[in-house]
């Protein structure tokens, strides 16, 4: 790898209307390096990403100070568009990065901008779509794609342009477990085929550890906390990261846990799976999960023979009192659609839903939503006021409670901000908070923890766990399912192919394959350990 500095930041700072997001960042990125950009939610990662390819400050009325060089040349000396071909970026918000009607046109648009000969376009488009597995959607209109499918398309658009630097802003936030892994693998493969500099912003690190060779960590005040090798970052530095509430690779977490429990004998914290295995002496310790099998109350919601949007087929399920239900499945499998039907936001084409003993259709709207809460997959769909404070206070009896909630969700600083001007993770928290402050019998959440750092994710799940009513939660995070869910429903191509306890799901590998899920870390480790025991025994 050449050590030539491709991107150089010197005393870089950025501020939206008299508020500093980050200040005095000095770092440089070498050509073909793979950099992981870490930091708590709201620390300025996305903002930095936008500054790196000159989209900011033009696009917003923010002020950028300090100097930023690309290949030794000041960004301002590049003329418009020139830089975008060299530095491709995938936005964090999948909804907001398209400008054409159909998938095909969208990919073509980028190619047209750089005057790719027409004869080559077709092939490039095909290839890019194939890489992310969107081949079948080539002709479909973008706004009918599911959240995850949109994120894949965004990536395809960038890949088609073959830039020298690729910035990925939480590319897997809305992807199903297997897609996330595949995406990381795709990136790794592409890097082998055609080297490029990679900057990844991620909260879920496990798939990336193998790829990255450098970590840059921002703290909550937008200053550099760490800049160096992953080994060091997740080794001696791990405690600091934890303190900032930054996710660690699960292997590292496990390592720390084991060390503290005193049965990890490796001299330094593990970073790779095999290192952990090597370091562990007592293997059973991890297998135990203190899961109290809760006796379920009576059903509060019953779905019978539900068909909807020509996609969901014959869904039957129950939600019981006080139950924590998780819904999992591949991108586009129909989770969001289902949740909307269940909450009466989408009409059914067939079937009935009973909520608290009464048909959903019979409910008075105002009444219904006193008893049933809903958190949209797209946070912005939740917002109806012009500032964070009002948003939480809306329809809340005791306004005095607001500051506490803001505190809990780490939004104190943003109280006066407009909901739309928040960071993605902050938006997510706000939208969840608007529902958490009320007491419902059933709370439905569509991917409540995506884009969250360790602390905030933990906060959200704790609150959900303590909640009186039942919770119906869509998620792609198998760890959450494993830790919190009493029941898990698996959707596949609009059909409900499994309902049961997480434990029984982990036992059923065909289902897990079919629905593009993954075993939670705990389970994988357990299996490996068992395998090792056998190995040792024989």
């Amino acid at each position: 790898m050449s050590l030539f500095k491709q991107l150089e930041a010197e005393g870089l700072g950025f501020s939206y209307e008299e508020r500093d997001i980050f200040t005095n960042l000095t770092f440089s990125i070498q050509k073909n390096q793979s950099l992981l950009l870490l930091g708590p939610s709201g620390s300025g990662k996305s903002t930095l990403a936008f500054c790196l390819n000159k989209l900011y400050p033009e696009a917003v009325d923010g002020i950028l100070n300090g100097s930023l060089l690309f290949e030794g040349k000041n960004l301002d000396d590049f003329n418009q568009g020139e830089l975008n071909q060299k530095i491709g970026i995938v936005f964090q918000d999948p909804e907001s990065q398209f400008c054409m009607l159909t998938v095909e046109e969208e990919v073509a648009f980028g190619l047209e901008n750089f005057n790719v000969p027409r004869i080559e376009m077709e092939a490039k488009i095909e290839a890019a779509l194939a890489m992310v597995g969107l081949h079948d959607e080539k002709k479909s209109t973008i706004h009918t794609l599911s959240g995850g499918q949109k994120q894949k398309l965004a990536l395809a658009c960038v890949l088609a342009l073959e830039p020298e630097v690729i910035i990925l802003d939480e590319p897997t936030a809305n992807l199903d477990p297997q897609s996330s892994t595949e995406l990381a693998e795709t990136i790794a493969r592409l890097k082998k085929e055609r080297p490029f500099t990679l900057i990844v912003i991620e909260h879920k690190l496990d798939d990336w550890v193998e790829i990255i060779d450098r970590c840059l960590v921002l703290d909550s005040n937008g200053m550099i906390l760490f800049d160096g090798s992953p080994r060091q970052c997740f080794g001696e530095f791990a405690p600091f990261l934890q303190k900032e509430g930054i996710w660690l690779p699960k292997v590292v977490n496990a390592g720390i846990a084991a060390k503290n429990a005193g049965f990890y004998k490796g001299e330094r914290l593990p970073l790779r799976h095999h290192e952990l295995l090597a370091g562990l002496e007592n293997s059973v310790a991890f297998s135990i999960k203190n899961n109290i099998t809760v006796s379920l109350g009576e059903p509060i919601l019953e779905v019978n023979g539900l068909y909807a949007r020509g996609h969901l087929k014959n869904i039957n399920l129950r939600i019981h009192k006080g139950e924590m239900t998780a819904v999992v499945g591949a991108n586009g499998s129909g989770k969001t659609t289902l949740s909307k039907c269940v909450s009466g936001l989408l009409p059914l084409t067939q079937g009935q839903i009973h909520f608290l003993g009464m048909p959903l259709s019979k409910w008075k709207e105002k009444e219904l939503f006193k008893h049933l809460g809903y958190v949209f997959q797209n946070p912005e769909h939740q917002f109806i006021t012009d500032c964070v404070h009002e948003e939480i206070g809306f329809g809340l009896e005791d306004q005095a409670a607001i500051p506490a909630i803001l505190e809990k969700m780490g939004l104190e600083k943003e109280a006066a901000a407009h909901p739309f001007s928040l960071s993605q993770g902050q938006k997510r928290r706000l939208s969840v908070a608007t529902m958490l402050v009320h007491e419902q019998d059933l709370l439905i959440l569509d991917e409540p923890t995506f884009g969250q750092d360790a602390n905030t994710a933990h906060e959200i799940m704790e609150v959900l766990n303590e909640k009186e009513g039942s919770v119906f939660m869509i998620t792609h995070d198998m760890e959450l399912v494993d830790q919190y869910a009493d029941t898990v429903h698996v959707l596949d191509k609009g059909e409900l192919i499994f309902s049961g306890t997480p434990e029984s799901l982990w036992g059923n590998l065909e289902i897990i394959q079919q629905a593009r899920l993954k075993l939670p870390f705990r389970k994988r480790l357990q299996n490996d350990l068992v395998r090792r025991e056998i190995h040792v025994a024989t």
Binding site: E17, E58, V60, D61, D386, H418, S421
Partner: protein, 193 residues
Amino acid sequence: MLAKWKLREVIVLSVLAVVFAVVYLLFLQLGTVLFAMFGLIGYDLIFGIWFIVSIIAAYIIRKPGAAFLSETIAAMVEVMIGNAVGPRLIISGMIQGLGAEAVFAATKWKNYSTWVLMAAGMGSSVFSFAWGFYVSGFAALSPGYVTAMFFVRLASGALLAGLLGKYLSEGLAKTGALNSFPLGKEHKRNVTV
């Protein structure tokens, strides 16, 4: 002219145009009803609404051409989504836009006071009426009636386009959606001061 425009402004302009193209189409139905009730003059009662986007766009973006372009694009989109008046409507749109643009031009695109906005609405009224007089053959009607139509449309332009447009734009500024546009900045200044 477009060279001076930021892409951001062009798109916001066209989005406004699209949104109002839909509104325009809806009002066409209402117009037809009024038409049925009061005859031709029924249209003129609400004619101002069909100029509103040029007022809003100009008031928000404050660049030469905003009024003209927005109205033109709105007309184009209306045709695309099936206003059967068809391509001719695009010409009408251009002419209406020019009417408003002319007024803003007279202030060198500097002054956006209520009066100017209302005057711009009236400008569209005048231009559009002249055009209508030609293509729709108002001449076949009695002079008195035509004069009545003219003044009704003038008032409608001032109120439904000028005033309503101002009102909507400022509502928008309050939401903070315009913070990176002149109107939004102006609004923030007024709030902070």
